[in-house]
């Protein structure tokens, strides 16, 4: 670690003092722990993930629970929530980013559009003042390399630095206090079809960043960049020889069909792995005890599966890697030889669950293929996999082999239209992250309910252009609705309650110790529901539809807030913000068919909303003092 003496010493001292926030601590009125920045020592992310007052990473904690120990806002008073203040991020494109809050400062990032693409803003939580903003040097052509709107899923923080990924392939570090650029490093190249949309995650002084580009034949990777140096420390590819995938002698595949040397080459036709996708554009979890990071990989390229005979390892897979070296410990391919664009980049939630007669360290992965996977996170073994939405493309998951049992009657062939395949290409659930409550032991899952017609065709690879080869037409699943917000019990392997929504639920979820769950809808409602019953307790009609990530935190005055950015877009919502014709169903990689009426509900937006419950002293949540 590179830092000056005066900067490192106080931090080291605070590390000794810091104690993880326990459930007991949370009973006390919310107040900042001594590790806060009062003394000027920036906190490490390893502490922030345990700090209930702050929201230091998009997923809240390394286990990716999106659970907050704050309970000032609870089922009894959530109906009183009001807007405290708002802020416009500018470009009215898809707002998928999570607002971060560290010691009274809110950090948000805008989509890659407008005069200042991926602009970062730091705002004072207490009154909404703009503290600083930062605009990376733009390459507007990157907008044409983004498959699914020009979104960013958020920032990361560690020890006084904010980390930004830009759509055009850079990782950037900023001084969290001043907004000054500390370093920037090019990781991807749009001329190879690479972009970056995921929220970076910091583990052990490394920023972990993966690329997007599965629709452009971009070869997937996850890179570790030194938080101080900006240097690339390791890069693990998802396809190719073991030396590139960082598979060595410590690696053990959970099933024999994935075992062997250079499977990332052998499971493809000659050289196709070089344009095979498998991009790491989703979520990263970390188990400090096992010292393993977990993340999923995306679809293989092209979508037309007849161009790539074989299992196409390691696309549509989950990797467990050592964060220091990048070396893989295990990997499990959920979707061998993907037929439908079922990326498996969705979040992996790390919890300990009673399975059989013992408590197992598991990873819950709500699969894009419509199955809820529970894996042993030490080995990758599948403990259970159960359908949570309408699925007819996969009959079941064979727990002996770990392979899906396919419905062969639906297998696409060039020139033959497959009708009514479910789930559609975005899966039963896409990137939108779930939340886990250790109180209710339920997983709160925002997801869609779509089927599709699918016609594959010839496609050639031209670097920097799409590599798809499928004409897709999505529509509402059985029942006519297109989305659902559900509570799932992973031990009993069943849905406990569900709220049907007319449109896909493309926002993330948040759950709190107050037993309230938050999510937003594409038709502009931000909702709070009872974590136990699913009863809607409060809803707010906003300016634009929601596809963002709700977060919650406390101000320096100890007051709890809830925040989310309003602004429809993303793959599902691009039709409301881009020049896409609702009358041509195959647009937006087929999502137009399912969303052609979205513009009758919403237009684009870019508004950060910060909510609070009025205190006794105030009858409104408005906390902005007039200028003196």
């Amino acid at each position: 670690m590179v830092c000056s003496l005066w900067r490192c010493l106080p931090y080291a001292a605070l590390l000794l003092l810091a104690a993880p926030a326990s459930a007991e601590d949370a009973q006390a009125p919310t107040s900042h722990s001594p590790t806060s920045s009062a003394a000027g020592a920036p906190q490490a992310i390893e502490e922030l993930v345990r700090d209930k007052n702050n929201w230091g990473m998009a997923a809240k904690d390394y286990a990716n629970t999106r659970y907050s120990e704050l309970d000032q806002i609870n089922a009894a008073n959530v109906a009183q929530l009001q807007v405290a203040w708002m802020f416009s991020l500018g470009p009215a494109r898809g707002q998928e980013a999570a607002p971060l809050v560290i010691n009274g400062i809110v950090y948000v990032v805008a989509p890659y559009a407008g005069p200042k693409p991926n602009q970062v803003f730091a705002l004072t939580l207490a009154n909404g003042d703009l503290k600083w903003s930062y605009a990376p040097k733009p390459n507007p052509a990157a907008a044409g390399i983004a498959c699914c709107d020009v979104v960013s899923r958020g920032l990361a923080y560690d020890k006084g630095k904010i980390f930004l990924n830009t759509l055009d392939g850079y990782a950037v570090a900023l001084d969290a206090e001043t907004g000054k650029e500390l370093w920037h490093t090019q990781l991807g190249d749009i001329n190879k079809g690479e972009t970056i949309t995921m929220a970076p995650v910091v583990v052990k002084d490394k920023v972990l960043v993966g690329n997007s580009g599965g629709e452009y034949g971009a070869r997937g990777w996850l890179a570790a960049v030194g938080t101080n140096s900006g240097k690339i420390l390791w890069r693990a590819y998802s396809t190719g020889p073991d030396s590139d995938v960082l598979i060595g002698k410590d690696f053990k595949a959970p099933y024999p069909w994935m075992s062997g040397k250079d499977m990332g080459v052998k499971s493809w036709p000659p050289d196709k792995w070089k344009v095979g996708g498998g991009n790491a554009w989703g979520w990263i979890s970390y188990d400090p005890e096992l010292d393993l990071i977990y993340y999923g990989t995306g679809n293989p390229g092209a979508w037309n599966h007849e161009t790539r005979l074989g299992d196409n390892l390691w696309s549509c897979a989950i990797f467990a890697r050592n964060p220091d070296t990048g070396m893989a410990k295990w990997a499990y391919q959920i979707g061998p030889h993907d037929l439908w664009d079922y990326d498996e980049i969705n979040e992996n939630i790390l919890v300990d669950l009673p399975i059989g007669n013992e408590v197992r360290k598991v990873l819950i992965h709500p699969g894009r293929n419509g199955y809820m996977y529970v894996l042993d996170r030490a080995t990758g073994e599948v403990l259970s996999a159960d359908a949570f939405d309408t699925v007819n493309t996969i009959s079941s998951i064979d727990l002996k082999s770990g392979r899906p049992v396919l419905n062969d009657s639906l297998t696409p062939q060039v020139g033959r239209t497959v009708r009514n395949a479910c789930p559609a290409s975005p899966g039963a659930k896409d990137w939108q992250p779930s939340a886990w409550s250790p109180r209710t032991k339920l997983l709160y899952v925002p997801h869609q309910h779509l089927c599709m017609n699918f016609l594959t065709g010839d496609v050639g690879y031209i670097a920097g252009t799409p590599y798809v080869g499928a004409e897709v037409d999505m529509f509402a699943g059985p029942g006519g609705h297109r989305g659902e917000f559900m509570a799932w019990n992973p031990v009993e392997k069943k849905k406990v309650w569900a709220i049907t929504e007319q449109l896909p639920v493309w926002s993330g979820a948040l759950v709190t110790k107050g037993d309230v769950v938050f999510y937003g809808t594409m038709d502009r409602w931000f909702k709070a529901v009872d974590a136990n019953s699913g009863k809607v307790l409060w809803q707010f009609r906003a300016g634009s539809g929601f596809i963002g990530q709700p977060t919650t935190f406390a101000g320096v005055d100890g007051r709890q807030y809830v925040a989310i950015i309003s602004g429809v877009g993303g793959w599902s919502g691009a039709i409301a913000v881009a020049k896409i014709d609702p009358r041509v169903r195959n647009g937006a990689l087929g999502f137009t068919g399912a969303m052609q009426d979205l513009p009758t509900h919403t237009a684009g937006g870019a508004t950060l909303l910060v909510f609070a419950v009025p205190t006794n002293k105030r009858d409104t949540a408005d906390i902005v003092a007039p200028p003196k």
Binding site: P140, A141, A142, A143, G144, I145, A146, C147, E215, G415, T417, N420, C451, N453, F454, L455, G457, D458, V459, G460, Y461, I462, G464, T465, P466, Y467, V468, E471, D473, F475, A476, G480, R482, A574, A578, K579, I580, D581, P582, R583, V584, R585, N586, G587, A588, L589, T592, G593, A594, M595, Q596, D597, P599, T600
Partner: protein, 214 residues
Amino acid sequence: MTPPNTGVRLRIALLVLGIAAGLASVWPLSGSAQEGPALGSSKMDDGREHAGSGGLSPGSLIDVPMVNLTPGAVDVRPKLAIPNLDADAAQRGLAYFTSFNCVGCHMPNGGGGMGPALSHRPFIYGDRPENIYLSIHQGRPNGMPAWGTVIPDKLIWDLVAYVRNISQAPAQEWGTTTSKTSPTIEQVPKEFKPSTAQPWNYTQKFSSGQAPNP
């Protein structure tokens, strides 16, 4: 007239297309690049006869304005001999639209996705044939690649013919009303009409996100 760098372009294009399967049957360059509708045939896109001959090189398009605002409100559009953009050209353009991955961004029938919809006009950078030609040849700032060194001129003109075809959405009004009852129609989707270069000839009742009923 063949622009001097066509040979280089053809080699690049053939290299690129060598990866794409199934094009041999529609590939018009297997004979000579001079075959097919002659560059510089005498129809303007609006049907008027044009006296010019000898074809168009990219250089002759330098005076084409991208916008319809000119100082002094004078008409500065040059007289051009636009190649014949007939149904055959559009049908060939459909094949190139797939083989050069135009379809990947602009989507089947030009419905729009990563790239803007081409299923209706106006276009940001102009919808006249020469504007569309230049947009393909030069690229455009927000993600449109510059194809001029990759796709031979003649094929670009076939793409122009196809794009002109698919952009003829039926206009019921001067602007566009969006409501629970508008639009009223949608195209029969591509999975049911895969080979038409005239997608607006096949329409059905608007489905509002439900399964299509062709």
